[in-house]
């Protein structure tokens, strides 16, 4: 398989347009054939025997009212003796004509298709063919509607005929058999239960307000899930701040993954464009940084602004500072994106591509949030600090630390740069994204399950062991490189040590789920949490497996790393973020998203992720083996193409799911312009002076 030559410059899209038109023509031709086939069925159906049996069946299909009518009619008729006649015609000859015409036309349609191959590469010829195909398509469409109408008329006639026959049968008072059958049928239809067999006759009462009856049931396309329970009012100003964070995050998710989707496509169609600002090398860091610093970071901080005051049982120290932080963070990602596309970057270390003045803005945003959170915690009215706040505040502390370490030039020459890079990129994901997200889960998961976390101590164990082991593992990105061998070994040992916090965390979450699995069925947030927990376990342990020296030979430098980072940053971080966002926004706005589109978001994201990662992991394992066996490099590029295509397909599904997510967020935030009956009635009452009765 070779890379596709697709380009917006090329004339090839003309060929695509022709293919599309031909496809449409074939579809319509098929539809017409199917319709005419139905005509044949209708006209062939009636033998005399069958007709009789059919009519008897129709007697049984009569409803109670119809039976009453018939019986009344028969009564009357017994008094007057009368008969009725019938007429019938057939339009078969006409039909035969239409079918003949049709098949000759559809034959023509197929004849216009592929001409000579050499001619088909000429744009002029292609355009002409398209121009010919368009009217043909229109003609077929018109023909199709005509045939359909004709068929309708014909079936109506046939059915009228049957109705006449039935009427004559029913009106024939001379047959006592029919009379008996009708009466019997009437009796069985009229049988009903009296509906109080089980409930008794007392009126129902709901003294404790336990029942919530949906008075406007819609069409049940998906099973109805539980609504978000009402919560104490959140400060309006804080709500606004949190929503601003979450909306910015969603915007960066859409932007970042649109870029990601495009560069994924470039693996299979490298000539899609030839614009410097859109070239692969520049867009790749735009994608990673936008989803890191834009989507995930802003989403986490937004949720942090909800959790920290809530578990401290104190108002947020300063809402104004929160807005400043948001402005700094957004400015960093906007400027960073522009500078990367313009070709200005820090020198190639992953996630460190923004130059320092831009990253400084980000760090200021973090510092503002940090001081805000710590001040809030200092004013807490609870004695202990809930574990979420351990994770969240530490994550910000560590994120600032690693940024400072990564950007100070004092230890960045030669191999120093590489050692710091390994440390920085891995602490970025582990001590910032993972730690913060765990903090969120420790708050929202018990809340959504409506039960306490299984073990506080396990959470504490996971916290300290995560700091201890995670900090060591950075250089496992440079195993076998020129950096000191002992440092590589420490990184590998630390990666194995990561089993402790991961197993502790996963156990804690699963045990919290235990005994409450039934809630999974009727909640729309819990599936997101569960997916996140499962990927937390598998994704993190996969990281451990990748760190070993043998697996480094096999997987390092291949797209296995890319699959792994999507399993974790997407499977863990993004799924947890969505879970928490769907849990918190209805509390802030009082509006929920349509459950159908939440379901679509969930399944598209999950299936997309699997389509993205699994082929990529298989392909890159095989590619690694080819490298180890000394196969020529270009052969391994060619080999990967089908797997890259699958990645693009999975990526498209993920991207589509984000559109649904954005829509859901919109529906949760923006009120629907429709009069709410109860709300308006209450408002009316409020407006009327209470003295008037």
């Amino acid at each position: 398989m070779n890379p596709s030559g697709f380009s917006f410059h090329a004339d090839k899209w003309l060929t695509g347009a022709i293919a599309l038109l031909l496809f449409l023509i074939i579809v319509i031709t098929w539809l017409i054939r199917r319709t005419t086939g139905r005509v044949n069925k209708v006209s062939n159906r009636q033998s005399d025997e069958m007709q009789r049996a059919n009519i008897m069946n129709q007697v049984n299909e009569l409803t109670r009212e119809q039976l009453d009518q018939v019986l009344r009619y028969r009564e009357e008729k017994k008094h007057h003796a009368l008969t009725s006649g019938e007429t019938s015609k057939t339009i078969l000859p006409l039909l035969a004509l239409v079918i003949g015409l049709l098949s000759s036309l559809s034959g023509m349609a197929q004849d216009t298709a592929p001409a000579g191959n050499s001619l088909l590469s000429q744009p002029g010829i292609l355009i002409t063919v398209i121009l010919l195909l368009i009217p043909l398509l229109a003609a077929l469409l018109i023909l199709y509607t005509r045939v359909k109408r004709l068929l309708q008329q014909y079936t109506d006639q046939q059915r009228t005929k049957e109705a006449n026959q039935l009427a004559s049968l029913l009106s024939n008072t001379a047959t006592p058999l029919i009379e008996q059958q009708l009466l019997q049928r009437k009796q069985s239809l009229e049988y009903t239960l009296h509906h109080h067999e089980l409930s008794g006759t007392l009126p129902p009462a709901d003294a404790k307000g336990l029942l919530h009856i949906n008075t406007h049931p819609g069409l049940p396309v998906v099973p109805l899930k539980r609504k978000a329970p009402p919560r104490p009012q959140i400060d309006k100003a804080l709500s606004k701040l949190i929503l601003a964070y979450l909306i910015s995050a969603a915007a960066w998710l859409l932007f970042g993954t649109t870029v990601g989707e495009y560069i994924g496509i470039k693996f299979v169609a490298p000539d899609a464009d030839h614009i410097a600002w859109l070239s692969f090398g520049r867009l790749r860091p735009v994608h990673t940084n936008a989803v890191f610093w834009g989507w995930a970071s802003l989403g986490m901080l937004g949720l942090g602004y909800y959790i920290v005051p809530r578990v401290s049982n104190a108002p947020l120290a300063s809402i104004k500072k929160g807005w400043y932080a948001l402005a700094f963070l957004n400015a960093a990602v906007v400027l960073g994106t522009i500078s990367l596309m313009a070709g200005i970057n820090n020198g190639g270390g992953e996630y460190r591509e923004y130059i320092w003045p831009i990253m400084l803005l980000f760090a200021i945003g973090l510092l503002l949030s940090l001081s805000n959170f710590i001040q809030t915690i200092a004013r807490r009215t609870t004695k202990e600090i809930y574990i979420s706040n351990w994770y969240i505040v530490s994550a910000i502390l560590f994120a600032i630390t690693i940024t400072v370490v990564a950007y100070i030039p004092a230890w960045q020459n030669g191999l120093g740069e590489t050692i710091i890079q390994g440390y920085y990129m891995h602490q970025g994901v582990g001590m910032w994204f993972m730690l913060f997200t765990l903090g969120m889960v420790y708050y929202f998961l018990p809340q959504q399950l409506n039960k306490p976390i299984y073990s506080y101590s396990l959470g504490i164990l996971a916290f300290w062991s995560q700091i201890f082991f995670y900090t060591l593992i950075g250089t496992h990105h440079f195993v076998f490189s020129a950096i000191p061998w002992w440092l590589q070994t420490i990184a590998i040992v630390g990666s194995v040590g990561m089993i402790i916090p991961v197993v502790a965390g996963t156990t804690n979450f699963f045990m919290t789920f235990r005994g409450a699995w039934d809630q999974l069925r009727d909640s729309y947030t819990l599936p997101f949490f569960l997916t996140g927990v499962v990927f937390y376990f598998t994704g993190s342990l996969q990281g451990t497996a990748e760190a070993f020296r043998f697996t480094n030979q096999l997987w390092h430098f291949t797209d296995f790393t890319v699959a792994h980072s999507h399993l974790t940053m997407y499977g863990i971080i993004s799924f947890f973020l969505w879970a928490c966002i769907y849990a918190v926004v209805p509390r802030l706005t009082g509006r929920e998203a349509p459950q159908l589109s939440i379901g679509i978001h969930f399944w598209l994201a999950l299936l997309g992720l699997l389509f993205y990662t699994i082929p990529l992991m298989i392909g890159s394992t095989l590619r690694g083996l080819m490298w180890m066996n000394g196969k020529p490099f270009i052969e391994t590029v060619q080999f990967m193409l089908p797997y890259w295509l699958w990645r693009a397909i999975g990526g498209s599904m993920m991207w589509l799911s984000h559109i649904f997510f954005a829509w859901n967020l919109y529906r949760m935030v923006v009120p629907k312009k429709q009069v709410d009956i109860t709300e308006t009635a209450i408002q009316r009452l409020a407006m009327e002076p209470a003295t008037v009765h």
Binding site: P270, E350, W390, P409, L415, I483, P632, V637
Partner: protein, 333 residues
Amino acid sequence: MSLFDDHKKLYTTALLLFIGLTVFVAILPAVYNQRNNRPLANAGPLSEAAQQGKQVFIANGCVACHTQQVRNIDMDRTWGERPGIPADYAGIVRTDFWRNTATLMGTERTGPDLSNVGNRNPGRDWNLVHLYNPRIVVKESIMPAYPWLFEQKDSAAKNDIVVNVPAAYRYGRPGTIVAGREALQLIAYLQSLRQTPLPEGGTEPSFLYKREDKKPAGTPSADAGKALFATACQTCHQANGEGLPGAFPPLKGSSVVNGDNLELYVDIIMNGYDARPEYGVMPPVGTNMKFTEQEVMALINYERNSWGNKGKPVNAPEIKQIMELIKLKTSKQ
């Protein structure tokens, strides 16, 4: 416990633990490596053009797909003669006030490693065509095209380097396409990427996890010849042996390949060729890649038996003899 109820103590403890580990695992090793490694004495500094080219390389994010590290494992022997050592990177310092050091080691090998690409890849002509659109010379490549590093002119000026771009890859761009300043700088940088040989007498670090040779030494199979051709020759002469008109000559039906002048044939493989003005210059591929007589034999036998060629098969001893003769000649010149 008071630690858990006092936010100051709690967060200070966590931060100190983290910073302590950071110092131990990142800062100290980084400082140590920065202080105690020096570049090899025979590693010359980058030329002016190559330095500029490195900036082009950074700006366009080439590191996203190309590593610059030869790991000390056998599978990386394709990319260099020896594993990378700290000295290889020791000379790289902060780019400028705004930008950090760029060792460009990379983490993805979507494309080939570039540590030694200056020795491996053909000359400037090939590089220019490849940079304009890689698929002109390597059909299977998925590397981006970089037409914006080139200029379009009605007619080439005196000093312009004209790039021969086939119509299919012009996407309607008319006129003559000449190499831009940045393209030439980038290529100067790529050609400067060569592993510096270690000083005589030093012990070279070895490659680990050696592959076991299943076949007895001395009889490379036809597959070995094909693989060598794919790695070293195919980018110019193409998999079908037909070359590229106006750039690289065909081997299919070539008089050198099929003829009896084995000395010329081996000489071209080892030391390159520039005798025909209608084609680009061939670099000394064999010398750059340190071909052994076994490898040269496998390559010649492959080329003489492919694409309808019917040359006489050769054996290792006669190649060895010719190679020694050629070496003697070139050293006398």
